[in-house]
Symmetry: C2
Subunit: 94 residues, 2 copies
Amino acid sequence: MVLEVALIDVTDGSQAAFAAAYQQARHLVAQTPGCGAMRMTQGVETSTRFVLLVEWDSVQAHDAFRSSDRFGQWRALIGPHFAGPPHVEHFTDV
Amino acid sequence: MVLEVALIDVTDGSQAAFAAAYQQARHLVAQTPGCGAMRMTQGVETSTRFVLLVEWDSVQAHDAFRSSDRFGQWRALIGPHFAGPPHVEHFTDV
């Protein structure tokens, strides 16, 4: 199991639209084989900063999603609100 | 409930010592009033990068910990391995 941690900064004023787009797009990730729990969170100190946490069976499972048509649909929904490219890394429990 | 997300970079070569210090120090946070689940994770792509995730009842509960003697003990154990100041923010579920 690996944890995807994605730091996403959205443009100021688009926070609510981004959250709505996430609710609409969420299933595209959540229903992907190898995807476990999925959680989007919004910054308290900086409301334009979001952190997406996704449990994957493996980095390969996440890579397979990123190579799929579903990724294009996911990004088409949430991507227009990005202030820049998300910063995505994988982590394992200590 | 708020989620603390702490990005911690440690000095290269100190990864194992940091993980051991965390196991020793963990209870200082975990047993603090207002602290829920706690999870330390290590980077797959960058092994010197760790992400600490802590559920707090509120930002105030976390602040109370940071003002306590327990915080000094926690930092005395894990802090020597830091490559720089951790980046700490709070998030709420979308």
